[in-house]
Subunit: 178 residues, 2 copies
């Protein structure tokens, strides 16, 4: 950030009165420009013993497999965002059951919220951001071709919980690259 | 948003190629300025049969009671943010156990994440944003003096679950004012 989005003047970095962090502040109009983490919301769509994955048609991780997920938009709920992303990326209609994983990625200031979901039919199809959408059994999951650690961890927790016969909520913090 | 924070030019609102929503876009440097929901993170600190509340020393809702919570900052986890807010507002040291409630507030593009927590000692004290910090039994909670519906709902779910002898995770969407 170089310029104030409210008045167009150059911003400076200072710690505002009563605050304890550096913020971008406008010396002309006094606007404080707070920056906050973003949420990525998505689903783990299940059909019988299979889960739905999307092959990415966009960077980063072009060609790698992921669960349908994306940045939450203003004026929607986490669940609405997860349904929207599932339809946009996989053309898939799902019914959300429970929040399943929350992953903190403090090094990029993101929080992933992934919901378990039941695929309502098999009429899915790759959206513009996917090359391909397909169902995988646990044995078929392309573990070495997954796009993100949040997705790998969500899938691992899912199959573990399914083997144990009971689904839990899982949260963890993922640090900068391995 | 009136000006581009990257180059200082006036922004316009258009739907970028491949997108389906109006965004603030800079016609000079082509930066797309996405705007996303913010997370409010906090705790429900418990000591024996009591919970810790803070009386707000700031607007909005000056003088009303709340659980310690605030906007999550970049480069922290949800749990770290909740601990930080608990210490800043109530001078309280807690141990977080489980994510307890997630409330969507789409009309103001916020998501509340409240964690159950165990108060580690009684050395709490009002921080600069609180007038007073105190412990309340269920019967003592000032229900008609609570600052936010997210806080009221979190407290109601807590006492219900405690009576039932088992704590669950609760999520709901809260719409614009009653």
């Amino acid at each position: 950030m170089k310029f104030c989005s409210a008045c167009g003047s150059s911003v400076t970095q200072t710690i505002p009165a009563g605050d304890n962090r550096l913020r971008f502040v406008c010396p002309e109009c006094d606007t404080i420009h707070y920056q906050n983490p973003k949420m990525v919301v998505g689903t783990l769509p299940v059909w019988e013993d299979k889960v739905l994955l999307c092959k990415r048609a966009i960077e980063p991780q072009y060609g790698k497999w992921t669960l349908p997920a994306g940045f939450m938009e203003n004026h929607e709920s986490t669940q609405e965002g997860a349904l929207r992303e599932t339809f946009e990326e996989a053309g898939a209609r799902v019914e959300i059951s429970h929040l399943f994983t929350l992953y903190n990625l403090p090094y990029i200031s993101q929080v992933y919220l992934m919901f378990r979901a039941r695929l309502l039919d098999l009429e899915f199809a790759a959206g513009p951001e996917s090359l391909e959408v397909a169902l995988f059994t646990e044995a078929e999951i392309p573990w070495d071709q997954l796009a993100f650690r949040t997705i790998e961890q969500t899938l691992r927790r899912y199959f573990e919980d399914r083997r144990n016969g009971s689904f839990d909520f899982h949260t963890a913090t993922i640090e900068r690259n391995r």
